[in-house]
C-alpha cells in the first residue's frame, strides 16, 4: 500500500428502503444498530493497527443513511476512527446524509471530529417524484437540512440528483436543477436511474427497460430520446452555471472535486470498513462479507478470542494471497499487471482530465502506445478521445458513449 490511503466506512441502516435501491442497506432495530457499531469499532481498531504508518487522506462515510445513526453511536465510530488511524489534518472527510435525519447537534459533532464535507441525497425537488421514489423527505425538508448544514459550518456540500425518473419531463428536471442551483452547492452528482434486479422498481419497470433498450415506446420510464435529452440538458445547464463536469456523473465548482472519488479513479489504496465494504490494497481487491451476521460474528471472534483465533476460523483461513489481506473479506482477487493496466485506463478515463502517458509509464514501466497504441488510434479517429500534451482524455462524444470506449481497454486473455 502507498503512504496515503483512503477509508470508506459503511453504515447499512435506513429509515426506510427506497424502491430503486440495491445497496447493502435496510431497516434494523436499535439493538442491531448498537451491535453493529461495536463490531465496526472492532474492525476499525484492527485495521488501524494493520495500517499504521499510512496516512489517511480521505474518509467517506456512506450508507445507508449514516446520519440516521444516533449521535452517541456515530460519535463512537468517529472517535474510534480518529484514534485508530492517523488521519491527515487536511483530509477530506465526507458523510452522507438524507434530509430529515440530522439535527444541529449531530452536525456540530460531525464537524468536531473533522467531517468537512456533507453529501445530501436530494434526488429530486419535486414532491411527486420523491414520493414515487419512496424517499422519506419533502423538498422543504431538504432546504431545512441544507440550511442547518451551512449554519453548522459545512461549506463543501454535495447534492445528489437522479435523472430519468418514471414520468419525468424536461421541465420537471429543469425545475429540480434550478431549485438546486439557487443554493450554489459546491458539488452536484447526477445519476441516471438504474432499474436494478431484485428491487421493487425492477418488478414495476423491468419490462419498460427492455422496451427502451429495444428503442420502443415506454410506458412510464422516459424513452430513449427523452432520456438522452434529460442527460444532455443536465450537462448543459450545470456547465452553464459554472460547474465543471470533472467526471462522467460528477460536477463541481472550481476546486471542489471530490478527492475521495478521485482516489477510486486514480487507483489509490483504500480500505473499506463495515459490512460489504470494498478495499483496494496494493494488488489485492477484496470486499468485506456482505452478510451482517457473519460480519458481526467475525468482529466478536476478534474481540473475544483475538486475531490468532480469527485467522484460524474456517471462513477466514481460505483467504490467502500475497500482500495485504483483511480477515473480514469474503474473498480476495489479486490483480495481474494486465488487470491493473485495464483499471488504470477505464477508471482514469472516466475523469475529464483523463490519464497521462507519464503516469502510465510511472505505474507500469512501459509506454502506453506499446499496449494501447492501436486502440488509441482507432478511438481518436472515431473522435472518442483526444491526446494532447501527453494527456489522453475523452471527448464529449466519448463520454456519452463511455461504455463503448472503455470496453476497448480490456485486453482479454
Amino acid at each position: 500500500m502507498k503512504d496515503r490511503i483512503s477509508l470508506y466506512v459503511h453504515i447499512p441502516f435506513c429509515v426506510k428502503k427506497c424502491g430503486y435501491c440495491d445497496f447493502l442497506s435496510g431497516v434494523y432495530d436499535e439493538r442491531t444498530q448498537a451491535r453493529y457499531v461495536r463490531s465496526l469499532c472492532e474492525e476499525i481498531r484492527f485495521l488501524g493497527a494493520a495500517a499504521s504508518g499510512h496516512t489517511v487522506s480521505t474518509v467517506y462515510i456512506g450508507g445507508g443513511t449514516p446520519t440516521w445513526l444516533d449521535l452517541d453511536a456515530m460519535e463512537t465510530v468517529l472517535r474510534t476512527l480518529r484514534e485508530a488511524f492517523s488521519v491527515s489534518c487536511d483530509a477530506e472527510m465526507t458523510i452522507e446524509c438524507n434530509p430529515g435525519t440530522v439535527t444541529a447537534d449531530k452536525l456540530q459533532m460531525y464537524r468536531m471530529y473533522g467531517c468537512n464535507r456533507l453529501s445530501i441525497g436530494l434526488q429530486s425537488a419535486k414532491e411527486s417524484e420523491l414520493r414515487l421514489l419512496g424517499r422519506i423527505h419533502t423538498p422543504e425538508r431538504f432546504l431545512h437540512t441544507y440550511d442547518m448544514a451551512r449554519k453548522a459550518g459545512f461549506s463543501n456540500i454535495n447534492v445528489d440528483l437522479m435523472t430519468g425518473l418514471p414520468g419525468q419531463t424536461l421541465d420537471d428536471l429543469l425545475y429540480t436543477l434550478e431549485y438546486v442551483l439557487r443554493l450554489r452547492p459546491s458539488h452536484i452528482s447526477t445519476y441516471a436511474l438504474m432499474i436494478e434486479e431484485g428491487t421493487p422498481f425492477f418488478e414495476r419497470y423491468g419490462e419498460d427497460v427492455k422496451r427502451r433498450e429495444a428503442g420502443e415506446k415506454t410506458l412510464a420510464l422516459p424513452d430513449e430520446e427523452l432520456e438522452y435529452r434529460l442527460y444532455k440538458m443536465t450537462q448543459y445547464v450545470l456547465e452553464e452555471n459554472g460547474y465543471d463536469r470533472y467526471e462522467i456523473s460528477n460536477y463541481a465548482r472550481q476546486g471542489y472535486a471530490c478527492e475521495h472519488n478521485c482516489a477510486y479513479w486514480t487507483r489509490g489504496d483504500y480500505l473499506g470498513l463495515g459490512v460489504g465494504a470494498a478495499s483496494l490494497a496494493g494488488k489485492n481487491r477484496g470486499s468485506n462479507v456482505s452478510d451482517l451476521e457473519e460480519y458481526m460474528r467475525r468482529c466478536s471472534l476478534l474481540a473475544e478470542r483475538g486475531q490468532e483465533a480469527l485467522w484460524q476460523d474456517d471462513a477466514v483461513k481460505k483467504l490467502q494471497a500475497d500482500g495485504f489481506v483483511s480477515p473480514f473479506w469474503d474473498g480476495v482477487q489479486t490483480l495481474s499487471r494486465q488487470d491493473e493496466m485495464e483499471e488504470f485506463m477505464f477508471l482514469g478515463l472516466r475523469m475529464n482530465r483523463g490519464v497521462t502517458r507519464r503516469d502510465f509509464e510511472g505505474a507500469f514501466g512501459c509506454r502506453i502506445d506499446g499496449i494501447y497504441g492501436e486502440v488509441l488510434k482507432k478511438l481518436r479517429e472515431e473522435e472518442m478521445l483526444v491526446t494532447e500534451n501527453g494527456r489522453i482524455f475523452l471527448t464529449e462524444r466519448g463520454r456519452d458513449l463511455s461504455n463503448y470506449v472503455l470496453a476497448h481497454f480490456l485486453l482479454g486473455r
Binding site: 441516471a192 438504474m194 477510486y264 483496494l280 481487491r285 485495464e342 480490456l410
Partner: protein, 603 residues
C-alpha cells in the same frame, strides 16, 4: 454358439412419431434379459445424446437379443430401431432392407396417422411381413377395437389378433415376442453360397476406424478374409466380425446368411464403404450386387460456415465423418463475401438440418454460422440451359432467365373433422392446391394437397400442430417441379449487399417478407456509432427499409470503490458480445442474424 437360421428373426419396429416404438424396443430388450436393470436406461436404442434429449430416433440402431419362446426353442432376434420423422424416411428404408418383418406399433387412442401409413407402405415395398401391435391400451381414451378395424380397413392387413399391449407398463409384451416367432418369417439364404451382404449403416470409431453394419444375404463372412465392396471396388481384410450387444459390439467367429452384424477391416478411406453397397469375397465373388437402396436427394440446402474461419478444415472433417452414416447429407465447398469459407450442405428436411447442425456443435465442438435454408430451384435460362440452384447468390442475371421452377410435394394430412377448415386455410395460405379429401372414419379425414416445398420446410409442421391442437399428422412425398413466379430478395446493410442473407421468394410475398426481414434484422443488429440502413431489394428496386439508429449514449452512471469489479464485468460482457459478430463492411452482424429468415413467421 451360432444360431440356426430357422431360429433367427430380423425385424424392425415402425410407427408414427410418439406411438411408442422406442419404448416397446426397450421393453423387449429388458424382458429378454439382455441388460441388467442397472444398465437399463430409458430408450436404450436411442443412444445419441441428442436423441434422448429430443425423445426421437434419428439413426437406425440395431441390437441382438435372445428369446426363450414358449415352444421351448431359443430364438435370436435382431431388432433394428427406425426413425419416425418424415425427414428420415431414407433411414427407415435402409433399415428395412436388413429385415424380414416389421412390427407396426399403433397408438390405441390416436389410431393410424400419416406416418403410420407412410412407414407401412415402405415396409410392404420391401416385401416385409407386417405384424400390427396396438400400444397404449392403458390410456383412458384407448379404443383398441376401433384401431384394429381401422388397420384392416385402411391398410388392409389382418389385425384382429394383434397383441394389445402397454409398452410403458410391459403388459402383454410377451405376446408380441411370441407372435414375432410365429408370424414373422425366418431369413432365407445359403450359408455356403457366395457371400452377398448388404451394408445398411456405418460409423466411425476413433479406435477401430470405420465400422460397417450389414446383413448377410448369402454365404458366410469370417475375420481374415479379403472382401470386396462391389460399388466402390475397395478391397479390405476383415479384422473382426460381430453382433450388436446393447450399446456395445460383441465379436464372434463368423456371420452366416440371415445374420445381422458388423465388421471392422483395414479400411483406410471412409469413402470406401458406401451404405447400400454389397460386400462379397474378393476370391469368389457373387454374380451381381444386391439392389441397394433408392438414392435420395437432399431437398433443403443451406450454407454452414465455421464461426472461426481457421476451423474450416475441422468442419470438413466433421462433415465427412457424419456423411459416413448419413448418406443423405451432402456438401460442397462455397465461399461467401460475408462469411468466408464454408460449405453448401443439402439435407432431407429442416429437422435433418437442425440435427446435423447440433451434432456438429456438440460432437465436434464447432461453432457454426448457418445461412437461411432454401430448396433447389430450377432456373431455365434463355439459352435453353437449365441450372439447379442451391445457393441464391448464384442466381443468374434476370435478363438471362427465361423462367424458374420450384419443387412441389404431395402432402397427406390426417386431421379430425373439426379442424379441417383450419388446415385447409393453412394450406391455402401456403399456396397449396387441393387434390382430394377422404373420410377415414366419421370424424377423421385424409386431405391431399400439392404444396411448394419452399412453403413447408420452415414451420409448416408447427403451424399444422398449433392449428389442429396437435391432432393433425402429416407426411409428404416429392412430386417434381412446377413453374413459379420467383424472385431473389437481397438484403443491403449499410448499402452493401450481404450475399449470405439473400433468399428466393415467391414474387407476391416478396414485399411482406422483405419488410419482416428488415424488422428482424433491425432487432438483431446492435447499435453502431453511425446510422445503419437495412434494406430489402428485388433487383435494383428497394422494397423495404428499416434503420438501426446511431448509438448516442451508453454510460455507466456511477463507478465507485465498491463496484469496480462489477463494472469491469459489464465492460467485459460488452466486449465479449463483439466476438460473436461478423464484420460485413464496417457493420458488425451477430451470427444469429443469418438465420433471421427462419423466424419471419414467429409473431
Amino acid at each position: 454358439m451360432l444360431p440356426e437360421q430357422s431360429r433367427i428373426r430380423n425385424f424392425c419396429i415402425v410407427a408414427h412419431i410418439d406411438h411408442g416404438k422406442s419404448t416397446l424396443a426397450d421393453r423387449i430388450i429388458e424382458m429378454t434379459g439382455l441388460l441388467t436393470d442397472r444398465e437399463m436406461q430409458a430408450q436404450v436404442l436411442d443412444n445419441m445424446e441428442l436423441e434422448r434429449e429430443r425423445g426421437i430416433t434419428i439413426k437406425s440402431q440395431a441390437v441382438r437379443i435372445v428369446y426363450q419362446a414358449k415352444d421351448g426353442q431359443t430364438y435370436t432376434f435382431n431388432l433394428i430401431d427406425t426413425p419416425g420423422h418424415v425427414d428420415f424416411n431414407y433411414e427407415v428404408s435402409r433399415s428395412l432392407a436388413a429385415c424380414d418383418g416389421a412390427v407396426l406399433v399403433v397408438d390405441a387412442a390416436q389410431g393410424i396417422e400419416a406416418q403410420t401409413l407412410a412407414n407401412v407402405y415402405l415396409a410392404l415395398d420391401h416385401d416385409l411381413e407386417v405384424l400390427p401391435v396396438i400400444n397404449k391400451i392403458d390410456l383412458p381414451s384407448a379404443d383398441p377395437q376401433r384401431v384394429k378395424d381401422e388397420i384392416e380397413d385402411v391398410i388392409g392387413i389382418e389385425a384382429q389378433d394383434a397383441p394389445m399391449i402397454s409398452a410403458k407398463t410391459g403388459q402383454n409384451v410377451e405376446e408380441v415376442l411370441e407372435q414375432i416367432v410365429a408370424r414373422l418369417p425366418a431369413p432365407q439364404g445359403d450359408p455356403n453360397g457366395k457371400l452377398q451382404a448388404l451394408i445398411f449403416d456405418s460409423v466411425y470409431d476413433a479406435y477401430k476406424g470405420v465400422i460397417v453394419f450389414f446383413r448377410v444375404r448369402e454365404g458366410t463372412i469370417r475375420p481374415g478374409e479379403q472382401v470386396l465392396m462391389m460399388a466402390t471396388g475397395a478391397v479390405a481384410e476383415v479384422v473382426e466380425v460381430g453382433y450388436f450387444g446393447a450399446g456395445q459390439f460383441v465379436p464372434c467367429d463368423e456371420l452366416a446368411a440371415g445374420m445381422v452384424g458388423y465388421l471392422t477391416a483395414s479400411i483406410k478411406n471412409v469413402k470406401d464403404t458406401r451404405v447400400g453397397d454389397t460386400i462379397t469375397h474378393k476370391k469368389d465373388p457373387c454374380d451381381k450386387p444386391l439392389p441397394g437402396y433408392k438414392k435420395v436427394n437432399p431437398m433443403v440446402y443451406c450454407g454452414l460456415y465455421p464461426a472461426d474461419g481457421a476451423k474450416y478444415p475441422d468442419l470438413r472433417d466433421a462433415l465427412e465423418k457424419l456423411q459416413l452414416n448419413d448418406a443423405a447429407l451432402q456438401f460442397e465447398p462455397e465461399t461467401s463475401a460475408a462469411l468466408g469459407f464454408g460449405f453448401r450442405c443439402g439435407f432431407l428436411g429442416l429437422l435433418h438440418l437442425e440435427i446435423v447442425q447440433e451434432r456438429l456443435e456438440r460432437e465436434y465442438h464447432l461453432d457454426l454460422v448457418t445461412t437461411a435454408p432454401g430448396v433447389v430451384y430450377r432456373v431455365h435460362k434463355t439459352d435453353q440451359t437449365v441450372i439447379e440452384l442451391t445457393n441464391p447468390s448464384n442466381l443468374p442475371d434476370p435478363s438471362e432467365i427465361d423462367y424458374m421452377e420450384e419443387p412441389i410435394v404431395e402432402a397427406e394430412i390426417m386431421v379430425t373433422s373439426e379442424y379441417i377448415g383450419a388446415i385447409m386455410d393453412l394450406c391455402q395460405e401456403r399456396r397449396g392446391i387441393y387434390i382430394s379429401m377422404e373420410y377415414m372414419e366419421e370424424t377423421r379425414a385424409l386431405l391431399r394437397y400439392t404444396l411448394p416445398l419452399n412453403e413447408i420446410i420452415y414451420d409448416f409442421f408447427d403451424a399444422l400442430k398449433s392449428r389442429s391442437r396437435g391432432y393433425a399428422s402429416f407426411d409428404y412425398e416429392m412430386k417434381g417441379y412446377m413453374r413459379s413466379d420467383l424472385v431473389k430478395l437481397d438484403i443491403l446493410i449499410n448499402k452493401e449487399e450481404v450475399d449470405a442473407l439473400s433468399f428466393i421468394v415467391f414474387a407476391q410475398t416478396a414485399y411482406e417478407r422483405g419488410r419482416k426481414m428488415c424488422e428482424k434484422l433491425k432487432a438483431e443488429i446492435p447499435r453502431h456509432l453511425f446510422e445503419i440502413p437495412i434494406q430489402a431489394a428485388v433487383g435494383s428496386k428497394i422494397i423495404a427499409r428499416e434503420t438501426v439508429k446511431a448509438m448516442r449514449k451508453d454510460v455507466l452512471a456511477k463507478c465507485y470503490g465498491g463496484d469496480i469489479t462489477r463494472k469491469k464485468k459489464l465492460l467485459e460482457k460488452q466486449k465479449e458480445g463483439k466476438k460473436r459478430m461478423r464484420q460485413v463492411g464496417n457493420v458488425e452482424i451477430p451470427q444469429e442474424a443469418f438465420m433471421s429468415v427462419l423466424k419471419l413467421d414467429e409473431d
